[in-house]
């Protein structure tokens, strides 16, 4: 059901935009492109194939990745406020991207690649710093240590960010736009990269659904039933962080999706991660695609940063669902 809804949303989002395209034409163009058939002479071909489709794909994949990471972290840390950024890796990735923007680091001939590469390098570096710090402080990698180190690292990084912004005043607009999250320049290469990361890290996360159930009940309980607690924690933290690093590198810090989607999905399918995580995958894709659609068409031709939309819609939607589910229960 979730997967069908996701496919339908993909087509909806490709069709609707500043220029609305009929569904059958869109389907035909995509069909022809897949099988290498000749395309009709029409304005809609470049709009669909080089603008909308790569963007919608990137948005869907980012949404899926952010949500599965959020769901996994909420279970692993037994904390409903956790998401993929809790560990601080996404802040690190932003720092890399901002440095690239502020100092004009680019790769020759490839637009946006400088930011992406720098963000990824910094995400990886952050993961190393955070995990070795956590190891030094607390060998058992206890939940509170992880959350604290994540918060402290994020604050430290954001202070450096502010410093850079202060001195690179002519880039402020670019930097701000990037940190609010944008998939404006998304390409097929980006989508492919996201797909690879999501497949690998997602598979690792989905292999650990029963362990996540145990962690969500309590870490002690996980240990008592025979989960190798420290190893599973480490594996999951690395998988989540790598995936988040790739997401942030491509789409910037898109807030709220990873936090809210697992909660909304949990209200529908329950807390069992065997159902929760796959459902979050599709739920996140749908949610972010719709948010991106709103961002594109609401104040057309001005485009809103997607992070603004996700936070705005997400917060309201969340309150509504939470309120209704509470009322049903009592």
């Amino acid at each position: 059901m979730f997967s069908l809804a996701t496919v339908a949303t993909v087509f909806l989002c490709v069709c609707v935009g500043s220029v609305n395209l009929p569904l059958n034409e869109t389907l035909r163009v995509i069909w022809n492109a897949i099988w290498g058939l000749p395309q009709p002479e029409s304005m809609s071909v470049p709009i669909i194939l080089s603008v909308r489709l790569p963007r919608v794909l990137c948005v869907a994949l980012s949404g899926a990745a952010l949500s599965i990471c959020g769901g996994a972290m909420q279970g692993l840390l037994k904390n409903p406020l956790a998401d993929g950024s809790t560990l601080g890796v996404s802040s690190g990735a932003s720092l890399g991207a901002v440095i690239a923007i502020a100092f004009g680091i680019t790769l020759p001939n490839v637009p946006f690649a400088g930011t992406v590469v720098m963000a990824m390098a910094f995400a990886f570096l952050s993961l190393l710093i955070i995990l070795s710090l956590a190891y030094k402080i607390d060998y058992s990698l206890s939940t509170n240590t992880i959350i604290l180190i994540g918060v402290i690292y994020s604050m430290f990084v954001s202070s450096i960010l502010s410093l850079i912004i202060t001195f690179a005043s002519d880039h402020v607009k670019n930097i701000t736009f990037w940190t609010m999250g944008s998939l404006l320049g998304a390409s097929y290469q980006n989508a492919l990269l996201l797909l690879v990361a999501l497949t690998i890290c997602g598979a690792v996360i989905l292999r650990h659904t029963r362990e996540l159930n145990a962690f969500a009940i309590s870490e002690d309980n996980a240990r008592h039933i025979g989960v190798p607690v420290r190893r599973v924690k480490l594996v999951l933290l690395i998988a989540v962080s790598a995936l988040i690093g790739v997401c942030v590198s491509i789409g910037g810090t898109i807030g709220f999706v990873g936090l809210v989607t697992p909660h909304m999905v949990r209200m529908i399918v329950g807390p069992n991660h065997q159902r929760l995580l796959p459902a979050s995958l599709f739920g996140g894709a749908i949610f972010l695609m719709l948010a991106d659609l709103v961002a594109r068409i609401l104040l057309n031709p001005v485009e809103l940063p997607i992070g603004v939309v996700t936070s705005f819609i997400g917060a309201i939607l969340f309150v509504v669902i939470f309120y209704r589910s509470r009322r049903v229960r009592t």
């Binding site: 279970g75 008592h224 039933i225 949990r266 807390p271």
Partner: protein, 264 residues
């Protein structure tokens, strides 16, 4: 046969010594009661055996250091019930109990579904939780939650049960039921139980052996009858324990005409 052998177990947090050189062993068929006043280090022994706190000394299961067992191997042999439970999300009772089977199928595709289901149903039955199986754990009372985790432990089916305050939150009926249940569980050869117990009367009634601790040090250990002497208890609790017990029980002694005495 000796199942568990604990040697020179010492636990320190910085300068604070929680457990100081504790030794004991557990043989098949024994029920060892760990007793002592608050802060004696009773729960810390449980946490050390389940690898939840760093310690010095050695804990051997079947003559092999527990640190050398893989997590699921250890969980199939030694099962632990925590003192308190706090579940964050609305899992069903059934899914919590089913996690007890994790140690038998640590991989995704390993495991025997029918055997798992049979053990889960049996565990729910034993603890009287069958009718709660599809209910969310967030809606349970403290006692029902305790029995849920007890059921998880029975589904795990270990050789040694380690119970930290097993009748915490339980009313008299379930206290009695739980202790009777564990006693009959123990009748199968090859099994043993360690439990941390506050209620000295329960400890004395059900324990075959006992370990009396005070401030991390061993006051007495051995057969229950040898440990529960006024001399040892008074030393550990710094009060006249048996006099207090007699006063408490005296309230309930029946008069000759069969009715109970009034409080004096």
């Amino acid at each position: 046969m000796t199942l568990l052998d604990v040697k020179n177990l010492t636990v320190r947090y910085g300068a604070l010594t929680i457990l100081d050189d504790v030794n004991f062993s557990l043989n098949e068929g024994q029920w060892l009661m760990i007793v002592g006043p608050n802060g004696a280090g009773k729960s810390t022994i449980v946490n050390a055996i389940s690898q939840g706190v760093p310690y010095t000394g050695e804990i051997r299961y079947l003559d092999r250091d527990v640190k050398r067992y893989r997590s699921h191997e250890l969980a199939r042999n030694i099962g632990v019930l925590s003192q308190s439970h706090f579940v964050g999300y609305a899992f069903t009772v059934g899914s919590v109990v089913r996690l007890g089977r994790y140690a038998y199928a640590p991989g995704v595709f390993s495991g025997n579904r029918e055997e798992d289901e049979r053990m889960v149903e049996q565990a729910l039955e034993l603890t009287g939780m069958t009718r709660f199986a599809d209910q969310s754990v967030l809606t349970l009372s403290g006692g029902e939650l305790q029995r849920t985790f007890l059921a998880q432990l029975f589904a795990q089916n270990p050789r040694v049960l380690i119970l930290d305050e097993p009748t915490n939150h339980l009313d008299l009926v379930y206290q009695k039921q739980t202790f009777e249940l564990i006693r009959s569980w123990l009748k199968t050869p090859g099994r043993a139980v360690i439990s941390v117990v506050h209620d000295l009367s329960l400890a004395r009634a059900y324990g075959t052996h006992a370990l009396l601790l005070d401030k991390g040090e061993t006051v007495s250990r051995g057969a229950a009858a040898d440990v529960f002497t006024p001399e040892h208890l008074n030393k550990a609790y710094e009060m006249d324990v048996s006099a207090w017990m007699r006063t408490m029980l005296g309230q309930w002694t029946a008069r000759r005409d069969g009715t109970e005495t009034e409080n004096e």
